[in-house]
Assembly symmetry: C2
């Protein structure tokens, strides 16, 4: 399987696959006579794992850990769970921040309709208090 096929199968850009290889997330595959990368099923599996993890919001650093952990089938999964919990906590922080932001912006936008800069509620909210 060539890099383009792998890209299509995993919904990943070709450049991203090469990037993962350079980052040692995905092992370097064999090459054909024309120096094209040739991938096996194992690569497809591993890349799928990486992409799903990324889609779930794990950082590449977390993905690295998860990949390492996933290999020891008999080990307890406490560490996996705690990485996941950390991810959720991070998401919660972002949700709270964004929610507050949204509220504030909507309030400003609501009460300003078609007037001038001089009394635009948004500009007013941004500008420092006039020093009189």
């Amino acid at each position: 399987m060539k890099i383009g096929d792998l890209a299509r199968l995993t919904n990943t850009r070709v450049e991203t696959i090469r990037f993962y290889e350079k980052e040692e997330l995905l092992p370097a595959p064999g090459r054909n006579k024309g120096n094209y990368r040739i991938y096996e099923q194992a690569h497809l599996n591993r890349l799928s794992f990486i992409r799903r993890s990324r889609d779930l919001g794990f950082t590449l650093e977390q993905v690295r850990k998860l990949l390492k952990l996933a290999d020891d089938r008999a080990a307890p999964c406490t560490e996996v769970d705690s990485i996941t919990a950390a991810n959720i906590a991070e998401i919660d922080r972002k949700l709270a921040d964004l929610g507050a932001l949204r509220t504030e912006l909507v309030r400003k936008l609501e009460c300003c309709r078609g007037s001038t800069i001089a009394d635009c509620r948004i500009i007013e909210a941004l500008a420092p208090a006039p020093s009189k």
Copy 2:
């Protein structure tokens, strides 16, 4: 006022202030005999505007536009409002994405407690279907 004072007043790192100057968001101030930057009230006002905008989720590019628009007090504020609306739309997309992510992660985490990697629900969700 020296750069450290300005930093304290606006809750901004010194390096960030120098970065804004290089980016021409904040005009280069005068210098004292020792080549230290010396800021005036106008700088404080402008930096406050920038920081509040950033805190509200505007990109630096949007901040640039807002700063330009804020100067023409008589102009209509339609453009300001549409930049704000774009910001809200962006926030809404992020909120939706993060919400979905959270749901999925929580569901996985909930149904996996203290078992091994071999039957960890999270690893299972990440790993591609076993080729039997």
